[in-house]
């Protein structure tokens, strides 16, 4: 998995580097409707990750050759800010990694967005990673789902994503940066909680069949917690209605 420096002990007496147990998710905070000009938006703080998502659409699809007469086209741009913390990001434009992540996020959402309702249009998802600490693509999916719901775009489910990893021979949920870099395996998964369908599945490193099954089970459990946080964020928009969009500070 490649990391710099000595590999630290990742699991000591059932406790992880940051003191969590193997089934614990890092603290997750979501605020919906934070941007004035986007039709839907969400801000997610997940451990040390800070991710902002904005959604536009359905709007006229440009360029026209991307357009479909039968459905809305889903577009996604995942981008890391230059100051997001990961070493070589933000130097210039999209790179191999961010293009890949944009693609997998787009494909995850194509499964749930009811795009047939809006022919000839596009639905654009923009995700900006402001600070990264491992698991930004999962935070991006989680934020984008809330932003899409906030925009009122019809979806079959409110999806969420979480990664599982193998550290010091054990499966653990929601790896941080150290566990990602020095662990034996990293596996981000997005679920549709309603059906249990897997919408995004990637894996780095090696796992046995048993470890994979255990990882899926851990991720499924964790995804329920993520869904709770997402629903709470959306409810809060309506429980405490504001004429201006939420301020992040104060």
């Amino acid at each position: 998995m490649g990391g710099q420096g000595e590999k630290p002990a990742l699991l000591v007496g059932g406790r992880r580097v940051d003191g969590r147990g193997v089934e614990d998710v890092r603290p997750l905070k979501i605020v919906a409707r934070v941007l004035n000009d986007a039709e839907g938006s969400a801000y997610v703080e997940w451990g040390k990750n800070k991710v902002l998502a904005g959604v536009y659409g359905p709007r006229e699809c440009i360029p026209r050759h991307d357009q479909s007469l039968y459905r809305a086209v889903v577009k996604c741009r995942y981008n890391m800010a230059p100051f997001s913390g990961a070493e070589e990001h933000g130097r210039s434009g999209p790179n191999r990694r961010s293009k890949e992540i944009s693609k997998v996020i787009k494909e995850a959402f194509e499964n749930v967005i009811i795009s047939e309702n809006f022919p000839k249009t596009e639905i654009s998802i923009f995700v900006e990673v402001l600070q990264s600490d491992g698991g930004t693509r999962c935070a991006a999916v989680t934020a984008a789902a809330v932003a899409l719901a906030d925009a009122g775009i019809p979806m079959k489910d409110l999806i969420g994503a979480v990664a599982v990893c193998k550290i010091d021979g054990q499966m653990a949920v929601d790896p941080g940066k150290e566990e990602d870099n020095f662990g034996e395996s990293d596996m981000p998964i997005a679920f549709s909680p309603r059906t249990g369908d897997v919408l995004l599945f990637q894996m780095d490193g090696l796992l046995t069949r048993e470890e994979l099954a255990r990882g899926l089970e851990l991720a499924r459990k964790a995804s329920m917690k993520i869904r709770e946080a997402q629903m709470e964020a959306i409810r809060k928009v309506y429980d405490e209605p504001k004429e201006d969009r939420f301020l992040l500070i104060g």
Binding site: A149, D150, I153
Partner: protein
């Protein structure tokens, strides 16, 4: 809105039977919501969402292009509308605001307008299209109240554009509309807006 309703999320079950409900879908004999909405007794009202044009909707639009045989009209949706010169006696220029009826839409969602009327100079407030019924109110009650209290003429287009003339207190009218938009899902809104308009009028 008086009945007990609950907020549902996309993918949340609203019925254990297959039912035909707007903004819901059926999967394996059960009915689920597709939007964040208010659900009560077989009715799902979305709290947010894009404008979906329907025939007979009265909309406020902006003339975006003058063409040989008519006008292209911006309708606050992904789809441009066309207003044929045959439908109208007036002439418009780019940027003019109009109030018109949707005559026809098709499966590719192209919109044909008719019965158009030019709106004089005024301000345009863009709100979420799903909040428009609340802004209009039962039998125009809400919009009439804003008119009476601000002295403004207010026209709420089904597409989410609300047009206000500048003669009366148009700032107050806009604030009232923003208030309704933010609190559209709550009970007793008419009374609160009435109280707000009264208190602002004195000041």
């Amino acid at each position: 809105m008086e009945r007990e309703s609950r907020i549902v999320m996309p993918g949340e079950q609203v019925s254990d039977k297959p039912e035909r409900i707007g903004y819901a879908f059926v999967d394996k004999g059960r009915t689920y919501s597709t939007v964040v909405g208010l659900y009560s007794e077989g009715k799902l009202v979305p709290l947010e969402g894009p404008y979906e044009p329907l025939p007979d909707d009265m909309i406020v639009g902006i003339v975006s292009e003058v063409r040989f045989s008519g006008y292209s009209v911006d309708t606050n949706s992904a789809y441009a509308a066309f207003l044929s010169s045959r439908e109208i006696r007036e002439r418009y220029e780019m940027g003019d605001m109009i109030f018109a009826r949707i005559q026809k839409t098709d499966e590719t969602r192209s919109i044909e307008l008719g019965e158009a009327k030019k709106l004089p100079e005024g301000r345009l407030v863009r709100v979420s299209a799903v909040k428009i019924p609340r802004i209009i109110g039962k039998k125009n009650s809400m919009v009439d109240m804003i008119r009476a209290n601000t002295g403004c003429e207010v026209i709420a287009g089904r597409n989410g554009y609300v047009w206000i003339t500048g003669k009366g207190d148009s700032n107050l009218a806009e604030k009232a509309i923003r208030m309704i938009e933010a609190q559209a899902h709550t009970h007793g809104l008419t009374d609160r807006v009435a109280a707000y308009l009264k208190s602002q009028k004195k000041a």
